[in-house]
Amino acid sequence: MSEKISLKGALFNPLSKNNPVVVQVLGICSVLAVTAKLEPAIVMGISVIAVLAFSNVIISLIRNTIPTNIRIIVQLVVVAGLVVIVDQLLKAYAYDVSKQLSVFIGLIITNCILMGRLEAFAMANKPLPSFLDGIGNGLGYTVILVIVGFFRELLGSGTLLGYQVVPDSFYEAGYVNNGLMILPPMALIIVACIIWVQRARNKDLQEP
């Protein structure tokens, strides 16, 4: 019974109470880079979920054999290998998506969430909880990316997933897209707003 709760916790805690982006404030760099538009944000989220889940499982499987003094290197090699494989698979089977994400896929390697989860969770837990932890944290990251991407594309370009949603009559009435929204600093402001809302709702997250 206790294991069931912890499995559920591994999957769902990172979505809100222990979200990697807005609670632990990890992976902010890629939140700035890929959220000017909604679509790359979504594909980036899915790629991170895949890489995080599988690297968590692999590291968890070999966790007892890894010499402690080179564990970070081992983790990096596994992550880098997986990211290159994902990149190659995308190029072979989803060329358009791979073209759109281009350099961002490679940047998954440097995403702090990956190293954080491998070091903090997969090194000390069995493969199944590690797998769920990877999926959960990946989803937690994706949720924030999608929220930020949604507002930045809507307010910055007046479109969503490339389709225009702000009606032409708005523009005729003098509405102007907020050009500031497509610049990276605005992602930080939106992330800060999400943190504000979340801490206002969850009193136990507030620091005294």
């Binding site: 890929v34 000017a36 538009k37 790359p40 054999t65 890894i66 010499p67 402690t68 003094n69 080179i70 290197i73 081992v74 090699v77 596994v78 290998g81 290159v84 494989i85 190659q88 698979l89 190029k91 072979a92 089977y93 060329y95 073209k99 281009s102 350099v103 910055g156 370009s157 050009g179 497509i182 610049l183």
Partner: protein
């Protein structure tokens, strides 16, 4: 066995490197053909896009065969030379001096029966390479359409060069004015270039990428000067 000993660590990392290396080599080899095919198809659809032809999914190769009636290589004097135009490495050629280059020309015949000449261009933006294809009318002067792509320009800023809003500005611009060859300039919106060449507005917030497009057109279209002059004199 002592897992903290140097021997264990050394053997461990060597084995790990070998396993990961093998996995990567295997993935790369088994997917290589598919990736090359995808890259070729992508190139075909880019070439067609510059002439305003958008093939349906799965029809790219067939449409390319249908619309591109000839692929040639010319030199800087406008003479035909032998070679496989499709596989010319435009990136490498763009770094040579004008007369050392192989210049690919794709002759396109859209449904209306007219003839367009499609020329590849290659340059650099802010973060990485940018490239494109310029379709020119049979008079050798008027731009019929343009297609641009990039590797990693900033979404919403420099990456806007791929959008129709930017590309469509090139339609109808002239490369040869009063018999003088002048590549199209890219300038800040509202400004004019110093010469009297034709110009388009750059992307606001994407100044370096826009300048890159201008430089790319200058560098890659100038070697075609003789070829285009011949066309316009005929």
């Amino acid at each position: 066995m002592n897992k903290q000993s140097n021997t264990y660590t050394l053997i461990y990392i060597l084995v790990l490197a070998a396993v990961v290396g093998t996995a990567l080599a295997f993935t790369s080899l088994s997917l290589h053909d598919r990736q090359l095919e995808n890259a070729d198809l992508d190139k075909m659809s880019q070439i067609l896009a510059s002439a305003g032809i958008v093939p349906e999914k799965g029809q790219v190769a067939a449409d390319f065969k249908k619309y591109i009636i000839a692929q040639e290589i010319v030199d800087c004097d406008g003479n035909r030379v032998e070679g496989d135009a499709f596989n010319v490495d435009v990136a490498a050629q763009s770094k040579l001096n004008d007369c050392g280059r192989q210049l690919p020309v794709f002759v396109c015949r859209p449904d209306d029966g007219s003839t367009k000449y499609i020329l590849p261009v290659y340059g650099s933006g802010l973060w990485g390479p940018i490239w494109g294809y310029i379709a020119i009318d049979s008079d050798g002067t008027t731009v019929y359409g343009a297609y641009f792509a990039h590797q990693g320009e900033t979404p919403g800023l420099g990456a806007e060069i791929v959008k129709p809003e930017f590309r469509n500005q090139f339609e109808g611009k002239r490369l040869i004015k009063n018999g003088v060859f002048m590549p199209i300039s890219v300038v800040k919106a509202g400004q004019k270039p110093s010469g009297n060449e034709d110009y388009v507005d750059g992307v606001s917030g994407g100044t370096i990428t826009s300048k890159g497009v201008g430089t790319m057109l200058d560098n890659c279209l100038s070697p075609y000067k003789s070829f285009l002059n011949q066309l316009s004199n005929n």
